[in-house]
């Protein structure tokens, strides 16, 4: 799973978001390191919707503009859980090795 996809799913795990809400939350979550461009966001949303990981939630009109919200599906929740577990295992492995390295480097 690519980082933008992981971040979009992580944002949606916090509740339904509309397009710009996802862009804003991804920037905040990654501490401004990742800025999703609309081309990237809607490519990902189109693909995630087709794969059944994300689905439209509701529509609202704010200041005359339509906002379509998206939410995580059960399959999306499962995919994110699997990816998070995989990353967690990698982080654990890295930390274990770094801890083992530390006494020798000091």
């Amino acid at each position: 799973m690519r980082e933008p996809t992981f971040l979009i799913l992580t944002v949606l795990a916090g509740g339904p978001r509309h397009g710009y809400g996802i862009v804003r939350d991804v920037a905040a979550l990654s501490e401004q390191r990742v800025t999703l461009r609309p081309g990237t966001l809607y490519t990902a949303l189109d693909r995630l919707t087709a794969e059944g990981l994300v689905e439209p939630d509701r529509e609202e009109t704010v200041d005359g503009r339509r906002r379509r919200y998206y939410r995580l599906t059960t399959a999306g929740h499962h995919a994110l859980t699997t990816e998070a577990a995989r990353m967690h295992q990698l982080v654990n492995a890295a930390e274990t090795r770094l801890r083992a390295l530390r006494p020798r480097t000091t």
């Binding site: 509309h18 862009v23 461009r37 609309p38």
Partner: protein, 352 residues
């Protein structure tokens, strides 16, 4: 609707209509929200005078390329266009790579560095370059070879960077020489620069959704291409003066005509889906090369043998038109027959 929204909707017209029906309003809302500063006066100014940012334009262009030049999961028509552009790009880059690789071999021979070959005639000796920088500048053209290898190996951005490295130094040199009056003004280098620029842009069709290029087949095409084109040309050149009348647009006409004839002769009517990307790729190449041939004929007006050169160029264009027109007609009919909705076409990697 504000002027800014109009500009965003105009930009989104790059995307296919069915995609716009699904996503346009949503995308415009996201664009406009991203420009919202929270201050009423500034927002009103931006609504009138704001423009899509360069990064937004680039992301929409990339999305349009991905959708219109589809990969393995795209609808049949988008997939056919995607495969055709990828094939045409590979063939054009291969042609550059073949010619520069042969150029390296010939330069090495002319420099007397291949001892086992007979010495070249004295009037073939290369003109000594002025200095190291000038030599390096002239060698930039050879970047087409690693650019082709990078494209085949799936490193699209590296290929684009290397191709730019091959294109820009000769373009700058030409601009300076034409401005200084060292060479007469001519359209040919600029038209070829434009086409090379289009080639670099067309490499965007090798996006993540596209199937990987079959490496072995396309890498093998490089030595085969050298044996089939520059080696015979060089052998003829060594014994006859006739090839001095054949320039790059002329050679391109001959190559595309031969490839089209081979394609038409070997086409299997019971496998139209497999043949279509090749037909479309050759149609694209034939159209481009025909335009190149016609435009570059203008430059013959200044040359001593202009009557002979014009006759040869007209014959090259006529042959290309004669073989390209039936292929184009068949290709357009086949494209129209393709269903708009996604089906299951054969999704093999592109191969020669």
């Amino acid at each position: 609707m504000s002027r800014l929204e109009e500009r965003y909707r105009l930009l989104l017209r790059l995307l296919p209509a069915d995609y716009r029906r699904e996503w346009e309003d949503d995308m415009v809302a996201a664009f406009l929200e991203s420009m919202d500063t929270g201050d009423a006066e500034t927002s009103a100014y931006v609504a009138d005078y704001g423009r899509p940012q360069l990064s937004e334009v680039a992301s929409v262009i990339a999305l349009a390329a991905r959708l219109r030049l589809g990969g393995t999961d795209a609808p049949p028509r988008s997939y056919a266009w995607g495969e055709a552009v990828r094939l045409a790009t590979l063939m054009a880059t291969l042609a550059h790579a073949v010619m520069v690789t042969a150029g390296v071999a010939i330069t090495t021979w002319l420099s007397g560095n291949i001892a086992w070959l007979p010495a070249p005639p004295p009037d073939w000796m290369p003109v000594a370059a002025g200095n190291l920088w000038r030599t390096a500048w002239d060698l930039a053209d050879y970047a087409w070879l690693p650019a082709y290898v990078a494209l085949v190996l799936g490193h699209r951005r590296v290929a684009q960077a290397l191709a730019l490295l091959a294109i820009l130094p000769p373009a700058l040199t030409n601009a300076v020489r034409q401005a200084a009056g060292e060479v007469p003004p001519s359209a040919s280098p600029w038209v070829m620069l434009l086409l090379d620029g289009v080639l670099v842009l067309a490499m965007a069709a090798f996006h993540d959704d596209a199937a990987p290029v079959p490496r072995r087949r396309w890498l093998r095409a490089l030595p085969i291409g050298i044996l089939l084109v520059p080696v015979p040309l060089f052998a003829v050149q060594a014994t006859s003066q006739v090839l001095r009348l054949l320039d790059w647009p002329g050679l391109s006409c001959v190559l595309v005509s031969v490839a089209t004839v081979i394609h038409l002769a070997g086409r299997r009517p019971y496998r139209p889906a497999r043949a279509l990307p090749w037909s479309l790729a050759l149609t694209l190449l034939a159209t481009t090369i025909l335009a190149l041939r016609l435009v570059t004929m203008v430059d013959y007006g200044h040359q001593a043998q202009h009557a002979t050169l014009l006759t040869i160029a007209a014959a090259e264009a006529a042959v290309l038109l004669a073989v390209g027109a039936p292929l184009a007609a068949m290709t357009i009919r086949a494209l129209r027959r393709l269903p708009a909705a996604p089906t299951e076409p054969p999704r093999e990697g592109i191969g020669p």
